[in-house]
Amino acid sequence: MNNILGWIQLALYLGVLLLVTKPLGLYLIEVLDPRGRTWLDPLLRPVERFTYRLAGIDPEKEQSWKHYTISMLAFSLVTMLVTYLMLRLQGKLPLNPQGFANVPDHLAFNTAASFATNTNWQSYGGESTMSYLSQMVALTSQNFFSAAVGIAIAAALVRGIARHCADTIGNFWIDLVRITYYLLLPICVVFAIFLISQGMIQNFKPYDSAALTEKETVQVPKTDANGNQVKDAQGNVITVPQVIDTQSIVEGPMASQVAMKMLGTNGGGYTNANAAHPFENPTPLSNFIQMLSFIAISSAMTYYLGRMVKSPGHGWSVWAAMALMFLGGFLVCWHYETVGNPILIQLGVDPADGNMEGKEVRFGLMNSTLFATLTTDASCGAVNAMHDSFTPLGGLVPLFNIQLGEVVFGGVGAGLYGMLVFVIVAVFIAGLMVGRTPEYLGKKIQSFEVKMSMLVLLVLAMDILGFTAWACVSDWGKAGLNNQGPHGFSEMLYAFTSATGNNGSAFAGLTASTYWYDTTLAFAMLIGRFLMIVPIMAIAGSLAAKKLIPPGPGSFPVSGATFTFLLIGTVLLVGALNFLPALALGPVVEHFLMWSGKTF
């Protein structure tokens, strides 16, 4: 029965996603065209024009790929600085009813890098670290900006593919403003109000204090005037009874932040528990819409691609490759979480319930595994269940999803430009197989494009594996572990995978709010974002400048089932070759140990 309802929910999800892909794709075409028309024009055109005038942007001018990239980098630098400074000065700024202190330097750097790269890795617990102002401005602003930047870069790459003999690929500033005003803001307004209707909070009052019905007495370590623990003569910590009679109920402007966190595949939670928190994801319906929201734009970007290059079939073939890879991952994850943990079943836990550690009752196994698969497909990184407590192979799926390069739908924009790198590699491999010069939509793929694509793939692998290896042999790396044995290794691997892939989800037992982890993860994120974007922009510039060759009988078709499977094969092959050895040391070996009843 549960299984049948699960399959129906899966079908419903894919059906609705498919339904929104074309209309949203058509809307994207208008948004990403400076002369495009939308039904919001009467309201937003004046604001758009005013913005250009104020900032000194010439709306008639286009940019070369280099100019576009530099504008993007300048903007990212400035906004990252704003976020960093706001966090560092938090204690002195308003809207801080809980009186949270300034965020320490390494944590502020990590967080600023994290939100500016659309990763939204969180080394902190939001409800115990961030003031309302930090949540609403320092962090939410990056939810908008980093999402808009991702979509802009993808649009520039698609223009590069679609144009020929051209030396410009659009204007970064115009893309940024139009994406924010016409795409992100309107959807967020509706989405945030819907989330409140489901039970999400949106207020500015201090945390409420609820008087507990059942008071609880606990033993807490005794501390002296300096806050140090007092020990007796034998060196044991002295404890004193403490009565807990209130529960502090978190408040704040959550809905406005969460709507954008989801829509922009940011994923940085208002609370530490993220979308598992009953405030941050109150109902199965809010869960369903959230899952839809962080895939919808990436899905529509494939339609945008197809229409822009005048080959809708190509867009749909890319979509099909993404959907099939998503399905494969989801079915594996769902299966292993349903089978559950034999060690706990041995202790008397009902085997029919699967693995519920770290999961919420209202979502159950199916919606927890669906969310986990989608959030790592999409580079979102929000979680509605704790991935760290998944079974080994159930947890391998989110990990491997990110290692594929976040191209299964992927982050907004980032998913498409990442996937197009694989398309170039796939076309190149196909060309090698038949012994012809590879072509992609009438453009010759030459050594420059292939070199840049390989650079992107190498950065991905080296960033993840290099940092993980460093952490493994360092005291700072091992100090943060919450689990021992192979699962401890998985925690480190997941952290640097998530950072490099700009995902942001975690095997969250890892204590990453240390000087070393914050700093290394911040660099992993910055490398994973900008060292990929720059070569991709170079590809965009190079393709835009090329001459168009009419398709001949020897041209490799980039739509249809053959292409879809070639693309899937390329993505899986690269991912597997890079990461199987590491995965074997972590989740795979843990799987076998779990079934032999070994614990650590």
């Binding site: 900032a55 307004v189 609820a210 507990l212 529960q247 502090s248 836990v349 770290g358 979502f363 998944f390």
Partner: protein, 195 residues
């Protein structure tokens, strides 16, 4: 192309977007929330007769006595159920600590509810939730706890079953998610503090 000019555009544009995306937008959502869904936007709070908050219907609290339905185990904060420190245990499948904790909880659950050793224990009753604040327990879990609560309160099982059904949140549209019994509403209703 001039780097300084790019930086200047960035700075001005950042300012404009901050005002719109981080000022006007969240305040507008605040207004809409307070206007249309004030109870939810303010935390779904339950108040006592003096008007002081005693719970949020969305956040679990520790109910350990026999006369209450017990929530799922919580890893939020050092004593559990702490909304300022939400989160799961993050223990992996091969963790010895997880093994020990679940072993203890299974024994406690069987003892509290007078269940035989052969009785499989619902996973949600002995495995911690993701948020540590999960207000729901599975229906199976609630039904196993029901005789204990009925006995402690001197209620008959049928009357209690009606209340359990009343505070069961079903699947949305009969399809999405899983049903669960909201134990905050249920326990407070048993005490006459929630209607």
């Amino acid at each position: 192309m001039n780097i300084l000019k790019e930086l200047k555009i960035s700075a001005v544009l950042t300012l404009v977007l901050l005002v719109i995306c981080c000022g006007i937008y969240p305040v507008f959502i605040f207004g809409a929330g307070q206007l249309f869904f004030p109870e939810k936007a303010n935390g779904s709070l339950v108040y006592d007769s003096d008007g002081k908050p005693i719970a949020s219907t969305l956040l679990a609290q520790a109910f350990t006595a026999d006369r209450y339905f017990n929530p799922r185990p919580s890893a939020a904060g050092s004593n559990g159920y702490d909304p300022t420190s939400s989160g799961g245990s993050n223990l992996g499948s091969t963790s010895q600590s997880l093994h020990d904790a679940v072993k203890q909880r299974v024994a406690d659950y069987r003892k509290a509810n007078n269940l035989p050793d052969s009785q499989p224990v619902p996973a949600d009753a002995v495995e911690a939730s993701g948020s540590g604040l999960d207000p729901h327990i599975s229906i199976k879990n609630a039904l196993l706890q029901m005789p204990r609560v009925a006995k402690a309160r001197g209620l008959n099982n049928d009357a209690l079953k009606k209340l359990v059904d009343q505070y069961t949140d079903g699947r949305d549209f009969g399809l999405l998610g899983e049903p669960g019994v909201n134990i905050i509403k249920l326990n407070l209703a048993l005490d006459g503090k929630y209607k």
